[in-house]
Symmetry: C2
Subunit: 395 residues, 2 copies
């Protein structure tokens, strides 16, 4: 049994890369950038008008402007740049338009009256307001998004702005989700008294979908030969195997032994945590297949997957995942030997975490009530209200 | 101009429903439940063995057990329930198995030695450990997930457990994303000096995708007749129009006027907030089409969409969205007249929010650096370190 921080370190050490691919911008949300992104123009790309009104040439800002200007025409957004033909002329200008040649001052409609082709200025004082100058946000060639970043909706807008209709992203690993256990039946089956329906496989499937990965579902019965043959084939075909069930010490829990025979090196088995202690993690050295074997309990599978696999995935494809932090709303008993994942709800006003279940075990249905899990590392003294701890939000 | 809380209230008042549909469990993550979900069996559905070992009939827990028991056979997980044939017999049992008839006590392998068909007990003290009793988590017919809940990966597992291979969810609205502005060109085009590429439309598209909605993209030029014809058709075809640009006061910003002519009732225009002040919101009374018209600035569009539309969507399909709360890491100047959306990063240790940009405006590229926005309601006194405020995490 190893401590949780060591288990995580071992898992992260097994980070791997799966190449890159070019995909359409419309598919890129949630993927990890495989290229640095630079601006291809100054931003804004021209002296951009920020208000609707008129543009004049004013030059000396201390002197009051002429009382009125002849309206020469309109500089609309999206129209090529016009020029003021005379110092006593103005152009009506629209938000988003390029500032006309010769013009240096915008007067918004609120401070102008336009009558019979002339604009009468009603502003007491002028200044170079309402012009968003070329390059004032960023210069051409600036780095705006770095390789490894997980692409947000806002980033999609940035990528569009710099003309990336396709973008290079990290390829996703191929993942098999393997349920084991003869007591399991399909979701649409009516279980007999001693049977239960599969559930972990679907939770894992949905968790992978969230990351853009379409997992492939398999079920293998508790038969040594069937397990050996299936696992041998799956180790060849996939980059990652997610197993649920079959890692405790029973007669029919052959999986660690078979994985060993098939060349998967055990990196650790059993972590000093609750729930999820019997977690088994290994890797096939020549095939480079990673094996996350979760204990069969749904809450155990859940926390192990969203803690270990999720961090492994982020580290593999891009940057390390930043766990969010929350404040504890109450004291929670610690465990001197085990790290605890404690099911919590967040107070709507303070955002602080209240435990639903102190002892860090918890059944399947408690997952329906929880908003996530706080991670309380092993220690001798209880956790106190106001302490900041890691938080795994329910996905 | 109305205050932000009133704007939100008006938006939420326009919540609407779009019917329900049955979909596969595999597609249900992130959708909103349109039915209450009950357990169809006790959980666990039988007295479930929690350890590998042997099962005996012990009856009186104060008395030490027989020194050894004849091994009658194996009760595997997924096998129908066996019976202990004699009081001096035991059954080997596996995690997940049903507790055999007559048996009442589990002794794990760690406390047993099995030799020549007999099990020798090495435990000093026994108890009814390691049995997860039928119905101890929940009884058949219990409500586990309520109508209106947004389905998480954990919920997918719960739905599987109770046999929901298909699930009834709220239908999603049909959404059109309409960019306007003659200065905009497509992402894959090389803009001329006075042009910029479309970006807001793609940010909105990605934001909708996150909610399972495939938005349809349109662009309409700044031509009154083209706008009128296109908007008339789109109001008929869609449940929601998201417009970006075209709601300030310029000569070519015809949209509010045209929407009015087409029967869309303006609910408000301009909100006391920064950025995003010129937000326009309306609804067509007979067609029931909602119109969110965002100002063209990318940060304005972003905060308005993820604040107003997102909350409207959750309220329409399920339950009101709970904004998360964060603590401020520093003081931030308030504005007595305007609510501010301030771009922040979260401290990795404390989780507290540090402002990237105090004044609540911000350019497109600042979106690349931000982790989200804190919402600081209008008030006369500055915000202080330690205050808890609403937080919009970047999606």
């Amino acid at each position: 049994m190893i401590p949780i921080h060591e288990a995580l370190q071992q898992v992260l050490k097994q980070r791997s890369t799966y190449g890159t691919e070019k995909i359409s911008l419309l598919e890129a949300k949630g993927r990890f950038l495989a290229e640095d992104i630079f601006t291809d123009r100054d931003a804004p790309p021209f002296d951009r008008v920020m208000m609707d009104g008129i543009a004049i040439q004013h030059k000396d800002l201390d002197e009051p402007p002429a009382a009125s200007y002849k309206v020469q025409g309109i500089q609309a957004a999206g129209s090529p740049q016009l020029s003021l033909q005379e110092e006593t002329y103005c152009l009506e200008i629209m938000t988003g338009a390029i500032l006309p040649h010769q013009a240096d001052t915008i007067i918004p409609y609120e401070e102008v009256e336009i009558k019979e082709g002339r604009a009468y200025i009603q502003a007491a004082k002028l200044a170079k307001r309402f012009i968003h100058y070329k390059g004032s946000d960023s210069k051409k060639g600036e780095l705006i998004l770095s390789k490894g970043k997980k692409i947000t909706a806002a980033d999609i807008g940035l990528l569009a702005t710099v003309g990336k209709s396709t973008v290079s992203v990290a390829k996703l690993p191929k993942v098999a989700i393997i349920s084991t256990g003869d007591e399991l039946v399909e979701v649409d089956q009516e279980p007999q008294a001693h049977q239960i329906r599969k559930s972990n496989a679907y939770t894992l499937w949905a968790g992978l979908m969230e990351e853009g990965i379409t997992g492939k579902l398999y079920h293998i019965n508790d038969d040594k030969e069937a397990l050996r043959q299936s696992l041998a084939a799956l180790l060849e075909e996939f980059d990652v195997l997610l197993l649920s069930g079959g890692v405790s010490k029973g007669k029919f829990d052959h999986i660690p032994e078979i994985l060993h025979e098939l060349g998967v090196k055990k990196i650790f088995h059993r972590v000093a945590q609750r729930p999820g202690k019997p977690f088994w993690f290994g890797a096939h050295q020549s095939l480079n297949t990673k094996v996350f074997a979760y204990p069969g309990n749904p809450v155990s599978t859940y926390v192990n997957h969203f803690y270990y696999f999720q961090q492994w995935l982020y580290a593999s494809l891009g940057k390390d995942m930043a766990l969010s932090r929350v404040e504890l709303a109450q004291s929670i008993p610690s465990n001197p030997a085990l790290a605890l994942f404690v099911s919590v709800r967040l107070d709507p006003k303070s955002g602080a975490a209240k435990a639903l279940n102190h002892n860090g075990s918890g059944d399947l249905f408690s997952l329906a009530q929880t908003e996530g899990f706080v991670l309380l590392p092993a220690r001798g003294t209880d956790y106190m209200p106001g302490e900041k701890v890691d938080f795994l939000a329910l996905k």
